[in-house]
Amino acid sequence: MSVRPKVLIVDDEERFRTTLHKLLAIRKIDAAHVGSAKEAFSEIANNDYDVILLDVKMPEMDGIQALGRIKRENPQIEVIILTGHASVDAAVEIMKLGGYEYLLKPCAIDELVGKIESAWERKLIRGKKTLDANS
């Protein structure tokens, strides 16, 4: 288990991804980034991630569908949805699928880092509970 969370950024806007990666790096968060859900699935299959930042509107497959698949195949990974807008119905949908939370774009970097850290914390707590249950 790493000392800092391992994050994957999934967003179709390249500049958004690359600058976010830099902003997270100066806060000692190691973040990889991809531009589509398809690339995200292959990244997740090959590497361990703690938290995924997933944009809700992407070409080919939207964030909500991707969320469903990620949680089905990797229930332990925490997913934060980034959205231009969310309604109560969208929030319910995200919760139902197991998303950690949603964040409204644009979002202050400090808030984002706070959510990443609490999502990671939840992952650790849940992971520990599973270990305790199995022992």
């Binding site: 500049r15 958004f16 600058t19 902003l23 231009g84 807008h85 119905d89 644009p106 979002c107 970097i109």
Partner: protein
């Protein structure tokens, strides 16, 4: 006491049949005697009352339909504008997010250099201003997206008088300092309505807020509830404020239309009220005179489920 004669003079044709029968009374009297003549008179009178009452019913139904048609057109207009602006707002949020991040990164670069001098201070100040304006933009986009979102009513039994009074108390506390008095006239035996309480609360609160804003200082806000028709409830919120200019009246429910100075209100309040009321199966209308005041009337079905439009 209903009106005897219809108000529209062109409806004088209603008198044709009764008059014809009346005229028959004369020859009948001459040829058949008083009895049949009187009978003809009675028939003429009955004819008149029956026909005029039927005509009144038809006219009323036509007026109601016209009103519903107008509300439908307005709500379609709102939905179209709402969808368009939601699309724009969504598109704008992405570049805004990128701008916000670039500013953050630029700020970090400045701090890393630890520069001194007037230019750097100016640079930092500019970056702060950009952040402020990005926040301002994002407030607008979020408000637009909020306005455009679907609000499916969740139906619960609601005491309308209580709901209106609760909102009145909230407003009264704030406006009493400005010399505005709040008058209530609630219908005593208002049955419980089946509608969506928080959605209705939003409408009442918005209308009260507008009333308070238009009065400003020293005036009255009145709240009334009544039963206008079987199966319907009416809530009227009126004020003695500045009123709405005649030329603005048919735009008052349009999104982004506002008579307030820039920065004070996005003009979404009334259009939000309109779309909520339409969703609840009702109508909202306004009467206003510049300089005298305005009255907004919300009419709702007593039972949302029985009036749910397809």
């Amino acid at each position: 006491m209903p009106k005897i004669l219809p108000s529209d003079p062109s409806r004088i044709y209603i008198l044709v049949v009764p008059l014809a029968i009346l005229l028959l009374a004369v020859p009948l009297w001459i040829y058949s005697g008083l009895g049949p003549a009187l009978a003809a008179l009675v028939v003429a009178a009955l004819c008149f009352f029956v026909i005029s009452s039927l005509v009144r019913k038809v006219v009323k139904a036509q007026e109601q339909e016209r009103l519903l048609d107008l509300q439908l057109i307005q709500s379609q207009k709102l939905a179209a504008i709402g969808e368009l602006s939601a699309g724009i707002a969504h598109e704008i949020n992405n570049p805004l997010a990128i701008i916000a991040q670039e500013v953050e990164w630029a700020r970090h670069q400045l701090q890393a250099e630890k520069p001194e001098g007037k230019s750097f201070a100016e640079l930092k100040d500019s970056l702060d201003e950009i952040t402020r304006q990005v926040d301002r933009c994002s407030e607008v986009t979020h408000r637009i997206l909020d306005f455009a979102r679907k609000r499916d009513p969740l139906v619960q039994s609601t005491e309308i008088n209580k709901l209106v009074e609760d909102m009145a108390k909230l407003v009264e506390k704030e406006v009493s300092h400005a010399g505005i008095c709040v008058i209530r006239q609630y219908e005593n035996d208002l049955p419980p309505a089946l509608t969506d309480p928080p959605l209705l609360r939003q409408v009442v609160l918005n209308l009260l807020n507008n009333a308070a804003d238009s009065v400003g200082q020293n005036g009255t806000i009145s709240l009334e509830t009544r039963i206008p028709d079987k199966g319907k409830i009416e809530i009227e919120i009126s004020d003695t404020g500045c009123g709405i200019p005649k030329e603005d009246l048919n735009r008052i429910f349009d999104p982004f239309f506002t008579t307030k100075p820039p920065g004070k209100g996005t003009g979404l309040g009334l259009s939000l009220c309109h779309s909520i009321i339409i969703r609840l199966g009702g109508t909202i209308t306004v009467q206003s005179e510049q300089g005298k005041g305005s009255a907004f009337t919300v009419r709702l079905p007593l039972d949302y489920n029985s009036h749910k439009s397809g």
